[in-house]
Amino acid sequence: MRVSKSLWMGLLILFLLQAGLQWRILPLWSKNYAPKQAAPVGLSPEQLLVAFAGFREFLAGMLWVRADGFFHSGNYDAILPMLRLVTWLDPHNIDVYSTGAWHIGYNFTDEAQRSDRRYIPLALKFLDEGIENNPNVWELYFEMGWMYFHKIQDPVNAVPWLQQANKFPDMIPARRHTLAHALFKAGRFDEAIDLWSRLVLDAEKERHKGWEGHNLYDTRLKNFTDTLLDVVRRYGPEPETQPPLNMHFDATVKVVRPRVILVEGKLAIPTIGARVTVILRDKGRKLVYSPKALKVFTFEVDKNLTYMQDSLAVREMKFRREIDMSKDPKMYPFKAPEYEVEFIFDPRYASPQIQDRIGTDGVGMTDDRYLDTSEPSARMLRKVVTLTREQILMIGKTR
């Protein structure tokens, strides 16, 4: 009887001890090992069983391979739910986050290969989730910065993400250059030069380590000197960007068939390689390019929103293109009563020979009517035309 009493007492003590241990383990488990999203929707019972039988990462890998197959067969829509499943099963698979965000942000296009930019906030949110799950990995900060730098063409917002990525010592050396380029495009010339000089000094230490070390050093040195020369030429004592060049910018829109517009205009830039961005969107509906734009991650875009963006080449100081939005009603639903067609010339992404004349920040250009100085990092040219739904859907009039 006494033995039994001792056993019961021991049982109670052991029970409390295990509960105490479990209480301490849970927060650490949650931080290090817990799945990061809500339970999956779309896994079959067999797949769920496989996942819970210890094959989570294996199943994730197989699904990712399947998603790759869908990509190569052009079945892009099928990839989205797979991304969700794969990141649920393995939230630490960096490749899925980086490639998945690229896929969401870049690969949904219309017949003319114009990106469906409504997906970009989703791509940013997807990367944001990846960063939240993997805060100690540089790749996803870089991917976020790259998405701003390259896809959105917003070097100002690219800089903080790239700076975050550059803090990691294990970052691929060549990837560090992107921050310097972004700083330069954001008008932070001193910081860009400073970074290039530090990168050159770093590369000098590795110079003796084979051709890769040599190559890295040469690349950085060239970039450093080019940047210095660009700044001196464009902003030095006798800048080539002065006096400002009058761009005589103008643009018109003509509806030639239902949902087909002809855009044309002029830009008095005396060299080739300039591009004008044209955006057609629901009036007052600018896309917010921020991971915070969405409260929760979703693959659904606003199906009622029309947003078209294209880039027009300027030749002999003129640009012209017929933009057909009639073949992609899902991407261009035209549900709003009014639309803005915005024409932008942004010197930050112009080619170097153009920047030599007007500056990276547009300091060497002016315009009688459409000069926009609201963006601190660069002067731009901007013209907005308004169209009604009736005008776009019917054979229209010249505006």
Binding site: S30, N32, Y33, E57, G61, D90, H92
Partner: protein
């Protein structure tokens, strides 16, 4: 104590002679060995495939072996009436239960050592170098299976083998899901304390098998873990304490059982 070791030795000997267990072990070893053959399907995720497949097979085999091994440990002795011979000798009932559990855990240790060695070899062949990080995962899965063996042994003191299969498998599944379930509802602001608190209590009561699933950072080594050593120590302590708890409970029930 000699009696305990004698029973443990006999249990181990009997287990390694069981064909079904050895067939599972052999199948697991063969599957681990051929897992690099799937590499062409892995794309860039070669490491993920080899590691996750290996860990998955090891965990699955360990789970099956633990349940199959332990469900019959006590009922079989009663059925075959060999228990009367054993208990008629100077052997206490607690020694019998402890001996059975020790034998079962030794068998699991042997099986995990075999699978661990083969897995290590496969990482060398497939990834170019021995990845000793996998040993952490193997140790954790061994503890998981040992805890499951304790649960099964506990049930075997008062239910039949057939019921025990389902009961143990159910507890294993629940114990694997509770933390994830708790984590999910804690992240959901709409869940009321009325739902959350019972789940929290259940998480503290049931054996938590999810604690031992640490393979993800081994498969994705770029992760930086918080207090990894503390987690490892606490989880090992948790396994030992919970196994002791189940052992005491098994002894208590077995002591009161009429034979």
């Amino acid at each position: 104590m000699n009696a305990t070791f004698a029973i443990a030795g006999a249990t181990f000997g009997e287990a390694v002679r069981k064909r079904v267990l050895m067939v599972i072990l052999l199948a697991a070893l063969v599957i681990i060995l051929i897992s690099p053959a799937f590499e062409p399907f892995a794309g860039r995720g070669q490491r993920t495939l080899v590691m996750s497949f290996g860990f998955g097979i090891i965990q699955l085999a360990g789970t099956f072996i633990a349940i199959i091994l332990c469900t019959g440990l006590i009922p079989n002795e009663i059925e075959r009436r060999t228990i009367y011979t054993i208990l008629s000798k100077p052997v206490q009932r607690w020694q019998f239960v402890l001996g059975k559990l020790t034998g079962a855990i030794s068998t699991l240790a042997f099986i995990y050592a075999m699978m661990g060695l083969v897995f290590l070899l496969v990482t060398r062949l497939s990834l170019g170098s021995f990845d000793f990080q996998v040993l952490k995962g193997i140790v954790m899965f061994f503890l998981q299976s040992s805890l499951l063996a304790s649960v099964t042994l506990f049930f075997s003191t008062f239910v039949s083998s057939l019921v025990n299969y389902f009961l143990s498998a159910g507890v294993f599944l629940m114990g694997n899901l509770m933390s994830t379930f708790l984590e999910t509802i804690q992240r959901n602001p709409e869940v009321t304390p009325l739902t959350r608190v019972p789940v929290q209590i259940l998480t503290l009561i049931l054996p938590n098998f999810a604690n031992f699933n640490i393979q993800n950072p081994i498969i994705n080594p770029e992760q930086v873990l918080t207090d990894e050593l503390a987690y490892f120590i606490q989880t090992v302590a948790y396994a030992i304490v919970y196994m002791a708890l189940l052992l005491v409970a098994s002894i208590l029930i077995f002591n009161q059982r009429e034979m």
